[in-house]
């Protein structure tokens, strides 16, 4: 758990400036930003050079027998194959989104640890479904 963010009191700017010892010039952060920018860019160029992005099947070609959804919607596809469309296409995604949006409220109500557990279960389920769909033939 990272305490720096949660435990730091929300002090107005003037009060912060009275404690100069905790502060370093922005350049320290910028150097790190540049380094991580280049790491990220090299990962991007690596993927671009290494993995070919396919085209779909031409609409004029013979009809494809199996059509895979893009992976971002894999989880919903997985649910759609099992449950009625209104449930897996609307209720579950919107419900999850509503839980996400009200997360600050839940943390007030239930405390941080329980909220973290709720969030973790929610995201693990969606990520898990995505992987399930991608790994299915």
């Amino acid at each position: 758990m990272d305490p720096t963010e949660s435990d730091r009191p929300q002090v107005p700017l003037k009060a912060k400036e009275r404690a100069p010892k905790e502060r370093v010039p922005l350049i320290e952060l910028q150097v790190r930003e540049y380094i991580s920018t280049f790491l990220w860019l090299s990962l991007l160029f690596g993927l671009t050079a290494g993995v070919e992005v396919p085209l779909d099947t031409s609409p004029k070609a013979a009809a494809v027998s199996l059509s895979k959804a893009p992976w971002v919607f894999g989880s919903i596809q997985y649910l759609l194959q099992r449950w009625p469309a209104w449930l897996s296409g609307w209720v579950l995604p919107l419900l999850s989104m509503a839980v996400l949006l009200t997360l600050p409220w839940w943390s007030e109500k239930l405390g941080g640890r329980l909220t973290w557990i709720i969030f973790l279960i929610l995201s693990l389920v969606w990520v898990g479904l995505t992987f399930l769909y991608m790994l299915m033939g």
Binding site: M1, D2, T4, E5, S6, R8, Q10, V11, E22, R23, V24, P25, L26, I27, E28, L29, Q30, R32, E33, Y34, S36, T37, W40, L41, L43, L44, L47, T48, E52, V53, L55, D56, T57, S58, P59, V64, S67, K68, A69, P70, W71, V72, F73, Q77, L80, A85, W86, G89, W90, M97, L100, L101, L103, P104, W105, S107, G112, W116, F119, S123
Partner: protein
């Protein structure tokens, strides 16, 4: 990621000094910054793709020409694709990190909500970009989306607004094109600026 000069615009956006804690990698893992970087790359490559991509019936033909015939067209398309996938992943991980370090809690809940909206927009943009390929698979993906909207009461109108009139390709890419290249990225860009401004105002771990 911006240039820092004492008199420059960027120099005024960010503070001159920062908290020591902000330097620690595990404070943010740079995930928000990576998402913004991806957005920049996507904007640049996306504008370049606009020059040759044709929505509508020509979508697949123009994309396959762009991909295989035009010099560097395949590279630009590939960069656009991979940056998009990396953006979805980094936005998601950024969200996990924010919950982990409890940065969503009140006083900063407005920025959390903005962030959730940004996440949803990013996912929808990724999906709509896939639809623009105009092939059989993306046509099927569009049909599913259309059917989901049509299942709502009054959803036929919404389906037409988002997906356009169905054609022989299971759905024209023209409407999706308007959403994907202008409306959604516009909203996303605007909300991002708001998001960044709130980080500075609310006092996040890293001052923007």
């Amino acid at each position: 990621m911006g240039k820092q000069g004492n008199n420059s615009f960027m120099g005024h956006i960010r503070p001159r000094q920062i908290m020591t804690g902000a330097l620690r990698l595990r404070a943010t893992f740079c995930l928000g910054g990576f998402s913004f970087l991806a957005f920049l790359v996507l904007t640049i490559t996306g504008v370049l793709l606009l020059f040759f991509y044709q929505p509508g019936v020509e979508a697949f033909v123009s994309l396959s020409e762009l991909n295989s015939v035009l010099p560097y067209g395949g590279v630009i398309r590939s960069l656009h694709f991979w940056a998009a996938q990396m953006m979805v992943i980094s936005v998601f991980l950024h969200m996990v990190r924010v919950v982990w370090s409890k940065a969503y809690r009140p006083l900063r809940e407005l920025n959390w909500i903005t962030g959730v909206v940004l996440f949803v927009l990013t996912v929808i943009l990724d999906y709509s970009g896939y639809l623009l390929r105009g092939g059989q698979e993306s046509g099927a993906a569009a049909t599913i989306g259309q059917a989901l909207f049509t299942s709502l009461p009054g959803g036929q109108a919404l389906a037409t607004i988002f997906f356009g009139q169905p054609s022989s390709f299971n759905g024209s890419t023209l409407n999706m094109y308007a959403w994907h290249v202008f409306i959604l990225p516009g909203v996303l860009g605007f909300l991002q600026m708001f998001h960044f401004w709130r980080i500075r105002r609310d006092g996040g771990v890293r001052p923007l």
